[in-house]
């Protein structure tokens, strides 16, 4: 399902950001694009509203893995009241942080896949957001000798890569959960 009224949503985001930038004393400018052209190699990621920041405070947005960028994005999503499965329709970016993180995750997924093949043991990623977990799942979706699943709860959820026919040893039972 698409965002019902993208222009109205973009205007609401603009009002929110105008206040955040001014009240927060942030030296940032931003551009909001409705239905941006699709980035190459990101065919499965189709944001309907793209917000790009530039300015001297860009590094502040990107500290600790883009924590502030994601916080502002989250507040915008909450304001729009988009259900969780539609969060990717709105995308906040700065200095191509998303693109670079995507590349990093794909490389990490490739390394993890090789490790699992060699050791025949599962590999656990660090906890990640649902979007980032999705990138890892998708990066490995065509590897028929492996399977991936998300484990853990809430903010501690992480991706595990398993050999296809892996049988868990005694102890920690594996729990099947949705990504």
């Amino acid at each position: 399902m698409a965002i019902p009224d993208k222009i109205a949503a973009a205007n609401k985001i603009n009002d929110l950001l105008k206040g955040i930038v001014a009240n927060g004393g942030l030296r940032l400018k931003y551009r909001i694009t409705v239905d941006p052209p699709l980035a190459e190699q990101r065919d499965w990621e189709r944001p309907e509203i793209l917000v790009e920041f530039v300015g001297p405070d860009s590094p502040l947005l990107l500290e600790r893995g883009g924590e502030l960028l994601r916080s502002i994005e989250f507040l915008a999503l909450e304001m729009l009241r988009l259900p969780g499965n539609e969060h990717e329709k709105v995308c906040f970016d700065c200095m191509n942080h998303r693109g670079m993180r995507l590349e990093e995750l794909r490389l990490a997924a490739g390394v993890a896949a090789e490790k699992v093949r060699k050791t025949k043991m599962p590999y656990e990623f660090a906890p990640m957001s649902s979007r980032e977990r999705r990138i890892v799942h998708l990066a490995l979706r065509d590897q028929s000798d492996l399977r991936t699943q998300s484990e853990g709860e809430g903010l501690r959820r992480y991706v595990v890569v398993y050999p296809e026919n892996y049988k868990p040893a005694m102890g920690k039972p594996s729990r099947k959960t949705l990504p």
């Binding site: 206040g19 001014a22 009240n23 400018k29 931003y30 502040l60 916080s71 507040l75």
Partner: protein, 88 residues
């Protein structure tokens, strides 16, 4: 679309939290933020209507955490600590 930012640290953390809270809740008229100066830090006390508490706290406290992240990042620019308290 887009607005040029003001240059320089001319921020107002109380207004920042008030504006965000008003955007999040069902009843913006009941939103108020009181700024209290304590030893070395400013405490921002956010009050919202009883039905809107969940809107400003969020699942697993994520909305409140996002506002606190924003406060501490902006606070860095003023060399000042800001704390957000959500009053029930």
């Amino acid at each position: 679309m887009g607005e040029p930012s003001k240059i320089g640290p001319t921020g107002d953390m109380r207004a920042l939290i008030e504006q965000i809270a008003k955007a999040l809740v069902d009843d913006p008229a009941q939103v108020s933020v009181n700024q209290v100066e304590e030893a070395g830090e400013s405490v921002l006390e956010l009050t919202v209507g009883p039905n809107d508490l969940g809107r400003v706290i969020g699942k697993q406290g994520r909305t409140a955490r996002a506002m606190r992240n924003l406060l501490s990042a902006a606070g860095l620019k003023f060399n000042k600590r800001f704390t957000l308290e959500i009053l029930e």
